[in-house]
Amino acid sequence: MLNFDWLSGISQETARYIFLGLYVLIGGLVLLIPTDYIYVGVKKEDRHWYNNLKLWAICSLSILFFIYYIF
């Protein structure tokens, strides 16, 4: 029980897909964040695609996804 023996039937490959699925889920949640909230602290005229923090977060998650896909 404490060692998660009940999950011992799940293969390494399946476990990897669980992690990959988690990153996709997080990416989806990030995309749901209202854009206005992302820009709080930035003047209206200074809001550009490159300081959209949702894009930054998606880039980070994409690298993470790639690493777990490779290894």
Binding site: L2, N3, F4, D5, L7, S8, I10, Q12, A15, R16, I18, F19, L22, Y23, I26, V30, I33, P34, D36, Y37, I38, Y39, V40, G41, V42, N51, L53, W56, A57, C59, S60, L61, I63, L64, I67, Y68, F71
Partner: protein, 502 residues
Amino acid sequence: MLTGVDYFVVIAYIIGMLLLGLYFKRFVDSSEDYFLGGRSLPFWAIGMSIVVSDIGALDFVGVSGQAYRYGVSVGNFDWVGSVPAMLLAAFIFIPYFWRGGMYTIPEYLGKRYNLSVRTIASLTWILFFALDLGVLFWSSAVLLNVLLGWTIWSSILITAGVVGLYTYFGGITAVIMTDVVQMVIMFVGGAALVYLSLDAVGGWDNLVDKVYNMGPEYREHFHIIQPSDTKSPFPWTGILFGLTFVMSNAYMIGNQSIVQRCLTAKNEWHAKASMILASALKMAIPVLVLFPGLMAIVVHPGLADGDQALPMMIKTILPPGLVGLMFAAFFAGLMSSVDSLLNSTATLFTKDIYEPFIKKDGDDDHYLKVGKLTTLVLLLIGVATAPISSGFPGIYVAIQTFMSFFQGPLFAILLLGIFWKKSTPLGGLSALVIGIGSAILMHIFKGQFFHIEDPFLFISWWSFLVGFVVNVVVSLMTRPHTKEHLKGLVYDPKILSTSKEI
């Protein structure tokens, strides 16, 4: 041994850091300047500082050692063990802390729950940071002992002297701005070692083939996901439940030395951006600190102590000059970690212990002096506790073990505190005390409960669950704070609007 060129590089680096740190002394006029940099710093400096303060000497030596023993799965700590938690921190928790004008995480817990929770959380972090300092000093001494033949104690005392001097004067602005330079040096030095090591083993494909053919115990070295029944400390179940769901969140959201940096940001966007930038940079860390450990399997097979892998690689792979640069990179990691711990602990002690319990109505200059004095005292404690880490088989696992005692319960009360309005002061207090107690018991009797070597990930998860359940049960039986009291302290969908009022 270092050559003359190497000594020049190292000494120039140390003097440069001292001068840079002392330069920022002129910006310290108040306790807010000393602890929060006057809330004026940009995201790029904070982000780089978060990364560099989080790796340090511990990872250079410890992670390489773990990679030597267990392979790439140790990289989970910087990959899945960082990025999701940092995004959660950036988008949900940091805005609350920043808008609330907090100095410390226990300060938030004190407002959300009560003074007892604040004090226990703060004292626990102070204890952890003091032990962490000891581990950092010890890991540096191990490397210096191999490279230079210095005795352990002379290495510790020299390191403490250099770091203590520049941390004392500059406050967090000096800490963060020196971290920027330290990160660049660390990345350059680490990249040089990886490049030359890869060349020495004949390229990546050759490395994989050689390690794979060294025996069955090396077959899992290139699998980031380890089986659930692995004897290594990193089964995928522990990585998912213990690391991803609990420890990483507790570390990135509840760790004073990480969050305090974000609180120095000039506005909310910079606070969020700093954490997201750090999440991207952090993914490069395993490449710099883990891969040399993997390559040491081929270059130096059969090392009795995995923590010797990195020092041996530096000694045999790098030419004169680059050894000095790598040594400077190591110093950069060590200094950035130590100065972070010193400044954060000084903040915790001054704001959460000294101000509420010892002198409530002191002027700002008084608290500035207390913060500086605490820095010095903590440095002495770190030196005195350094030998404790020698009693553990792996330096990195040692620090994770210390953390697992309270990371789970801490995250449980933070999570319920911000997302559940009915969580009560007594619920939070009970969860923290019983959760930490359960973690200590699980560690003492780990032989009966767990079948892996170092079950700190499992302990983290189960103590989180204990804390969570205790908080819910006790809260349902006790009186919560009023809605007015909780304003700005618990999650409100209005935070996702442009309004700064929550």
